[in-house]
């Protein structure tokens, strides 16, 4: 095994180009487990800890450029307003110690369906900025996950940052685990209301081979909200609408039975979380709407 310690992003790209099998390691919270338990013996470890750029974020007009290695703790503490869904998801990641080390780049690189950031990124809308010595590109989050623990990265590419759309409405994230802390998702759900475009986006974790959006549920809800004039009248969402949204979210799952839970439970739980988080976000939207009307 070789340990590569690039001091800059350019050196990292060069190293990855020279050794495409090199495994990038940042927080180490996935890679080191595999090494400690003898599940993996990469030829090269490519340490990204020394590349300061990866630990920085920038809040722009439309979106936040989030460095791949910004620890979850920083996201929780500093980006709650801009990225509320991701901040909530970050708070559910493992333990404080892990949140101090791990970042979104690792979740994306591992591309496990159980990664906590995925549903939030899917719901918010995001692009993954990846780069190689050949150049840089942005992969829309919807096209990023290609299979179980597989993603759209080429062998010589590294994840540099994620561009996440700034919240234009309430967002929520919920995750089921069999413990009240430090737990891997049995399944998870993210939702983001986008009042500007009058759309709703979702993300489901751990209930299909990859993180997925519940597109049929989104389309149904977009139509129902439009039809009922909900965005304008700010009415309480009809229980039947919430129910059907929840059912469509359940239907978007393609889960398996495993040691963490049954497929049937995962479908059920995603439905419950979809209904609850829709209620929470919609109530919050109604609240802010009333406040802004009152102010005007």
């Amino acid at each position: 095994m070789d340990f590569l310690r690039p001091a800059s992003w350019e050196e990292a790209l060069a190293a990855k180009a020279e050794h495409p099998t090199a495994v990038p390691i940042a927080g180490g919270t996935d890679v080191m487990v595999e090494i400690n338990f003898d599940h993996r013996r990469p030829e090269y470890l490519l340490d990204l800890n020394r590349i300061g750029d990866l630990y920085e974020w920038e809040v722009g007009e439309e979106s936040v450029r989030l460095g791949a290695s910004v620890p979850y703790t920083r996201i929780m503490e500093n980006l709650r307003a801009e990225l509320p869904g991701l901040a909530l998801a970050s708070h559910t990641v493992a333990s404080p110690q892990i949140r101090n080390r791990g970042g979104v780049g690792g979740n994306l690189g591992t591309a496990s369906p159980a990664g906590d950031a995925h549903p939030a990124l899917l719901a918010a809308g995001a692009e993954v900025e990846v780069e190689s010595v050949r150049g840089s590109r942005r992969i829309p989050i919807d096209e990023f996950y290609t299979g179980v623990k597989r993603n759209a990265l080429a062998a010589d590419e590294l994840i540099r940052a994620v561009h996440v759309k700034k919240a234009d409405g309430p967002q929520q994230f919920s995750k089921v685990g069999t413990r009240n802390a430090m737990v891997i998702a049995v399944c998870a759900f993210g939702i983001a209301l986008h009042p500007e475009t009058r759309t709703v986006r979702t993300g489901i974790g751990s209930a299909a081979p990859t993180p997925v959006r519940a597109r049929a549920a989104e389309e149904f809800l977009d139509a129902a909200l439009e039809e009922g004039g909900f965005w304008d009248n700010g009415k309480i969402i009809t229980p039947s609408v919430a129910k059907q949204f929840a059912e469509l979210c359940s239907a978007a799952c393609n889960p398996i039975d495993d040691v963490r839970g049954t497929a049937s439970y995962r479908r059920h739980a995603v439905g419950v979380m979809a209904r609850r988080t829709l209620t929470w976000t919609w109530e919050s939207y109604r609240g802010t709407r009333r406040t802004s009307e009152g102010a005007a």
């Binding site: 559910t92 919920s174 089921v176 685990g177 069999t178 009240n180 839970g261 049937s264 439970y265 609850r276």
Partner: protein, 794 residues
């Protein structure tokens, strides 16, 4: 060759305080908070090698061939050993039945069985070498439950059994069977106005002690070996190791290294023999440290169980009879299965008075992971089932669940199903009263001005509910556990106590082989020595095999038995010290001959408080040292047909009230409070007593809602050998645990004390389950209960 990081002598001193009944601090706690306390995995030696074990990847197979040549040829590898390299003809070991191969021979019987061992100069070299050992398996069908174990064409897990249980078991795939029959349950059933039946199952729990199995074996110049080890019983290890290593016991020196928890999981051998074999083979010190993955294969677990119960009661709520059948899965090797069967059967109806009972308990041999000792030892599984039955029956009768229990509660004088009278306090009804009388935690504690605090709701930080679907439930349970080794076992402890004057101060040194696994035995030994010998300074000598056996740190027995031995040795030392005093000073004061004399505050005093002499002057340069064995009252085996016999030494009782909040839609549980009332006889160290009760309670909570080793029924392979998927409670899963300690002395025990470590683990689980049933209205016949069980999605 002294090993670095060898256990340090612990000295504790105080002025005149620090005797029994006080909450003195642990003598090892400074070292433990500074990181200097040397645990078994911290041992280190110049030039040491690292041992690695190759384990079977399948549960049941014939071994066709093993090829170690490639591994042996690797640079840095010093030894590779298989069954064929074992030094003597004794190649099996076991606590009671010697059925466990040191290394697999011809066959593997469970997933993760040791097949070969390697020593190399770096752990990674050892791992790579182990991976290069080629083992060819021919897989056999797996036996995983009672049906497959006792099928007419079942493969025998152990051919040619010759142990002492084979004569009375109905099938060779049954390790041991214990019926207990008293009165006539069938006839009594006729008097019942209400009968309830239930089938219950209990999942496989892991001890999950945090310090993984580890140790350092150092070869000695005389051809022997010195093992620094974390164990529960040094002398039991020694007895099992010596024949396999081909060494006389006096050539194996054992020193207790720091133990990172045990809970029964260190009662069997793990890496002890392997490390010694490699050290003796290579002539170099060998360290073995399991990682968490291997630890799940490196020790026995709590027996999973299927339990079938029938309870009857009259209209006025009196129990008429109990019938039950308890099937424990012992896995591939016997370990402590026979004794677990003895407990499950003899304590199978709980702390209740019932004259007509028909009980049967068996343990199976299967290809599942071996099961053996874990805190509560057979009594835990039974308590889960009989307490569920008591709730069901109370409901059928139409009585309050606690009152129904109190009405049928045993008390001093009750005759157990084994025919043994209960001859010390058994305050079962009182414990229930106390736990019920504790104030209830307020409702909706999660509500705050800023909305719901998810940390206090089911799901916790995962943000699954802000109060939706949350229903509160309350449940009660009470249990009975035996203390000490039962069924005629010669259960004794040895203590060596020395008294001398050092630097002008009288000092006592207590030397036992007791394994301090965290329970606080060392604290209590110092307290006993202070009380009995009136000294401030007590030194606790490291535990090793240079002194006689202290028995096992299990069965809630150490404070009772080794504590009793320390008390006894102190008394003998005191007599001798007084004898010296009489010789020297007897002529100066008549009280030396006539009064009851005590040692207090470094002085010899009369029971009237008159000071006769300073201990410093009595002892001068003389040291008094006595090593003595001490036994509790003898017990008898249970009759193999009727289960009758005075099998137990002492009983221990605890009651719990659980308050839970369940997210009924998602099936997530938050335990809000787990109150416990326990009779401890006499609290030698109240702070430690409460700590034990809270810790035991939490382990019971774990197996109620999350802890289970999942074994694939098709392959008998373990599916979750990691802390990612075997979950134990975090601080956010654990509620406040108010404890009410009752002290009713047992006149047969030293200071009237009662062994306390296990009882709280029993009733915690059924109390939590009862509370969840109360919140959901579901029957929930198995534990742990998982979200899918609570939502109908299993």
């Amino acid at each position: 060759m002294p090993a670095n990081g060898a256990p340090t002598k612990i000295t504790q001193g105080s002025q005149t305080r620090g005797g029994i009944g006080e909450s003195t601090l642990r003598p090892d706690s400074t070292l433990k908070v500074t990181g200097e306390f040397a645990y078994s995995s911290d041992m280190w030696h110049e030039d040491m090698l690292w041992g690695q074990i190759l384990r079977s990847t399948v549960a049941h197979a014939e071994i066709v061939s093993i090829d170690t040549s490639e591994a042996l040829a690797m640079p840095g590898v010093h030894a590779v050993m298989t069954y064929d390299d074992l030094p003597t003809e004794v190649r099996r070991y076991g606590l009671e039945i010697q059925d466990t191969p040191v290394l697999a021979h011809g066959k593997v019987r469970h997933h993760g069985e040791p097949v070969a061992i390697v020593a190399a100069d770096h752990p990674e070299t050892a791992r790579r070498a182990a991976a290069k050992i080629k083992v060819e398996y021919k897989e056999l069908p797996v036996i995983t439950d009672e049906a497959s174990a006792t099928a007419p064409d079942a493969i025998l897990v152990h051919e040619n059994r010759d142990d002492h249980h084979i004569g009375h078991v109905p099938h060779p795939n049954i390790v041991h069977r214990q019926p207990i029959v008293r009165g006539n349950a069938d006839e009594a059933a006729g008097r019942a106005d209400f009968v309830v039946r239930g089938e219950y199952s209990f999942g496989m729990q892991d001890q999950a002690f945090l310090g993984p199995e580890s140790g350092l074996a150092v070869p000695e110049e005389d051809g022997g070996v010195h093992l620094y080890i974390a164990t529960q019983w040094l002398h039991s290890d020694l007895r099992q190791m010596a024949p396999v290593l081909g060494l006389p016991e006096d050539k194996i020196r054992m020193t207790l290294a720091g133990v990172g928890g045990a809970f029964g999981g260190r009662e069997d051998l793990s890496m002890q023999i392997h490390a010694c074999l490699l050290a003796l083979r290579t002539g170099k010190p060998v360290k073995i440290v399991y990682n968490r993955f291997e630890s799940f294969f490196g020790h026995v677990h709590r027996h999973p169980a299927k339990l079938t119960y029938e309870h009857g009661a009259t209209k006025d709520g009196r129990l008429t009879h109990v019938k039950c059948r308890i099937v424990l899965d012992g896995g591939a090797y016997a370990s402590a299965s026979p004794a677990v069967v003895g407990n499950a059967s003899s304590l199978g109806i709980g702390p209740y008075e019932v004259d007509d009972v028909d009980i049967e308990a068996i343990a199976l041999y299967t290809n599942n992971p071996p099961c053996g000792a874990m805190r509560g030892f057979g009594a835990v599984q039974a308590c889960f089932a009989y307490e569920a039955q008591m709730d069901k029956l109370a409901d059928a009768v139409g009585m309050d669940r606690v009152e129904f229990r109190q009405l049928n509660a045993m008390s001093q004088g009750t005759i157990m199903p084994t025919g043994q009278p209960v001859d010390s306090p058994a305050p079962v009804a009182e414990l229930l009263r106390r736990v019920k009388a504790m104030p209830m935690p307020p409702e909706r504690q999660w509500e705050s001005s800023e909305g719901a605090d998810v940390r206090q709701l089911p799901g916790g930080l995962s943000n699954t509910t802000h109060g939706e679907g949350v229903v509160r439930g309350v449940g009660y349970a009470v249990g009975i556990k035996n203390v000490g080794f039962s069924e005629g076992f010669d259960d004794y402890s040895t203590a060596k106590v020395r008294m001398e004057v050092l630097a002008g101060e009288p000092v006592a040194t207590v030397h036992t082989a007791m394994a301090e696994v965290g329970q606080g035995g060392v604290t209590v030994h110092a307290q006993i020595a202070r009380t009995e010998l009136g000294v401030a300074q007590v030194t606790i000598h490291p535990a090793d095999t240079q002194v006689g056996s202290a028995g096992s740190t299990s069965a809630s027995r150490q404070t009772y038995v080794t504590g009793g031995a320390v008390k006894n040795a102190c008394e003998l030392v005191r007599e001798q010290v007084l004898e010296i005093g009489r010789r020297k000073f007897g002529s100066y004061h008549p009280a030396w001959a006539t009064a009851e004399l005590l040692l207090e505050g470094g002085k010899v005093v009369t029971d009237g408080g008159e000071v006769l002499a300073d201990l410093v002057d009595v002892l001068e340069d003389e040291a008094v040292e006595i090593e003595a064995e001490w036994r509790h009252r003898p017990t008898e085996p249970f009759d193999l047909r009727t289960g009758q016999g005075n099998g137990h030494v002492q009983y221990s009782f605890a009651a719990h009230r659980a308050v839970v909040e369940v997210d009924t839609e998602l099936g997530l549980v938050k335990v809000i409070e787990l109150a416990c009332a326990q009779d401890v006889g006499k609290a030698l160290n109240p702070l430690s007593v409460v700590g034990q009760i809270q810790g035991g309670t939490t382990q019971g909570l774990g197996v109620a809602v999350m802890e289970e080793i999942v074994v694939d029924p098709r392959t008998a392979k373990v599916k979750n050998p990691s802390f990612t998927d075997y979950l134990i409670p975090t601080i956010l899963d654990t509620p406040t645990i108010p404890v009410d300690v009752l002290e009713l002395a047992d006149e047969h025990a030293p200071y009237g004390l009662r062994g306390i470590g296990e009882a709280p683990t029993l009733s915690s689980t059924p109390a939590v389950l009862a509370a969840i049933r109360n919140a959901t209205g579901l029957e929930l016949p198995r534990t742990p209960v998982r979200p899918e069980h609570l939502t109908g999605q299993a």
